[in-house]
Subunit: 340 residues, 3 copies
């Protein structure tokens, strides 16, 4: 992976920051204080870590506006600083800029299976052994990884990245700048069965709806997202989903939601905007998580329950407000000790 | 996906139902009330929803035998009805019939890797980039998806469907009409190790047994089913397994069992017929779940425990009868409040 | 899979054991008492099971040094015994020896994608449709399964086995004798985002660190292991990881750790040597599990918590010593009963 080089001055312009010191130093990567070298940039969020950053091998340091009293401008011998309002965010954006060159070398690999009916945008890339179905549409600058299988009629927007061995079932649609990591499965058939009251056997309820992934959604490795049964499953703009997450049929997830690894959402659950969900959380069918609620790791929300409370943390199974749950745990520990 | 068209009268004959109204209307798909169009059929399970169904854009409505007093035969201007004893089940079967034409266009893709020793049934299909090992047997009408890898000596029955990127290890056997969704792994080596008491290091206990999947089993995306250690892992007829489920070595699962997403069964667990298991349930090794028990989501069954009770719901970790568990939760909430 | 044949005498020499009876019998496989045939060897760990083993169809029995008083040397008509200090371990090693011939037939499949920049060791094999990136290094005797995708610059040691459809991201390094089962994803980008305080949108924190897997590590099917964010994720020598396990960015796992299925470790968690972790355990970020602790299935360790206690079992969420947790459960059951 050849990264691009930029001067610190270029970075400052791109990030909307201000250089203190030598803006002509060359930067080619982001790094931690420990792993930094003479061409990397590091960041600190707190003035008290500035000294360590200046002592690292980094070429430059991204820092916040800590206030005049807190940051002493480094002497000429010290490292140049890049002062921004959100240092962690600026660091993340710098990383993206420095890796930006990778997109240019993309192409359609000779071993990819691309039917004549496929529509590929400018600069779209398809990796070795990838298989596109009929009438697939792929937007500008999107990269399909090696071994991916894209079903008939799937539509993928611009500047998306599908890593290796991803499966998209037919008809799935992805917006722009969507990232899907390796092994994820999008548009599988949901878990809906009808039991024949005469024979006791299960038959599949139709799972023929859509799966719609909006712009800037990111999906982790080996996660599984089911299509709707008759209607649609939808993940809205900017939501981030970790590895090994299960999203059932007809689930609706709002904007800027964060879902940590191994969490599962059952059929028809609704998650509103700005919700934060920890790892291994279980959300039963027809649950509603209202805007801005926070679900602690491993908590469980029973069927049809509504969780309400912007910024309120819930924990336990069945989930209750963290404060209540901690009281219960404390009471139980005390009472069990006393009784023994 | 071009679906077939059928008249409502055809459907009635196939489903064993009775038409009230115009049986000549043409049906090409199933739909929800919301997504219905002029060629789709919808269903209602309750007489009180009939009015909405008649107000939808659907061509016809599947309804139950609600009794003479409840269903008023629609006026000629209204939609035709298809009256059956189990409307949800009839709807599911109608969906299958309407999608039935898909199977006909199947073939062996030129990019599939099919050795001369493979035996393929009539109408069997192998998708692009799929890899069959030596001496694989595939039954009539079975479709192997793109990117699947089928190990040496695996046997797959008739009319099965393996979606994209599925892995079958060598020697795995599948019955008829088995469905395996994308990314699932069947026949992996189980998690069994012997610790060398001198070095403290772990060495693998042999994982060389079989994995047998019987007829009509369905397995969700990215689920993993281990082969037996020395003997076999077996999933019996009609059992349905959701996404991201783990089945350990030597597990025995009965008939018509339902297992929701992200549940895990440890080695040598036994699940009898007609058990229902919620999502994220953890079943330890050598557990036995007796016939017809119901395990609530996220519940946990400790080692060697026997769970007994047809139709009884168990919840919590360690799982206890739901009634007991709810009492404990209520007591705890009250007592903690009082004590604070 | 043609296995090799060995005489019992050969096995005894290889395993460091002693034959009682006819050492010339031919052994081609390991088996359970139930599945044994005339060429298989079985084992018993307890003198009381010896009679059943002698009554089985096996050719020979591996037994421990039960002491002179416990094992009566079988009459000439009975089966030969192979006496060792650790019978289960010897049985496991016998299995490995008997399957050893498989490695010899390996090669580079014509349909594999192997660029000129790849370096392959002696006897290394690459399966059908596997895709190697640029500058990949693969050690002697290592086998890459069908459909694997190996990213640029990945380094894989000697005598490793990657099963079908495994994904290695670029730069991942594996030691010697590493086993990765089907569908696992190694080196994916971790779940780290920065929220823009002005727009409320999430942007990815750089996930550009390394993933290092040391010698003798084994990883289960469809597990996902993230690379470091800026530094590295590392799994040390001899650790065994089951199916569907999630390992977050910057996690450090020690030597000879055992992690059962569906467990998740969040970012920067540290697990020291010889820890045993049950299934579906959730370990939050920055947790430290100290040497030799044992975490019961489904337990949960909250953020930054330190778990200490060699050989101590912890259970519940938040995890506490098993003894305490069982007391709490017993108290709760009693008190709830009394109060109702």
């Amino acid at each position: 992976m050849d990264a691009m080089k930029h001067t610190l001055r270029d970075l400052a312009e791109y990030l909307g920051g201000r250089v203190v010191g030598d803006g002509s130093v060359s930067i080619s990567s982001v790094a931690s204080l420990r792993s930094a070298d003479a061409e990397s940039i590091v960041f600190v969020e707190d003035a008290k870590h500035l000294a360590s950053a200046l002592a690292s091998s980094a070429a430059a340091v991204i820092v916040g506006n800590f206030g005049a009293g807190e940051v002493s401008v480094p002497a000429p011998a010290q490292k140049p600083l890049l002062i921004v309002s959100q240092p962690r965010l600026a660091f993340a954006r710098a990383a993206k800029l420095l890796r930006g060159s990778e997109e240019r070398t993309r192409s359609i690999h000779a071993s990819a299976s691309v039917p004549a009916s496929a529509q590929l945008g400018k600069g779209a890339a398809v990796g070795p052994r990838a298989v596109l179905g009929e009438h697939v549409k792929i937007g500008d600058g999107t990269a399909i990884g090696a071994g991916c299988v894209i079903g008939d009629g799937a539509e993928i927007g611009a500047h998306c990245r599908l890593d290796a061995n991803v499966t998209l079932y037919s008809g799935v649609t992805l917006g722009n700048r969507v990232v899907v990591q390796a092994g994820a499965v999008l548009g599988s058939e949901g878990f809906g069965y009808v039991r024949d009251s005469e024979t006791g056997r299960y038959e599949q309820f139709p799972q023929v709806g859509r799966l719609v992934i909006e712009d800037d959604v990111e999906i982790g490795a080996n996660s599984t997202l089911d299509r709707g049964a008759l209607d649609e499953t939808r993940i809205r703009r900017g939501t981030k989903i970790d590895n090994l997450v299960q999203v059932g049929h007809n689930v609706q997830i709002g904007q800027d939601v964060v879902i940590a690894a191994q969490t599962g959402l059952s059929g028809s659950a609704v998650v509103e905007d700005n919700v934060i969900i920890g790892g291994q959380v279980g959300i039963a069918d027809h649950v509603r998580i209202e805007e801005g609620a926070i679900l602690g790791a491993q908590s469980g929300i029973p069927t049809k329950k509504v969780i309400r409370g912007k910024g309120v943390v819930f924990w336990g199974t069945p989930a209750r407000p963290l404060r209540e749950y901690l009281k219960e745990l404390a009471f139980l520990a005390r009472a069990a000790k006393k009784s023994s």
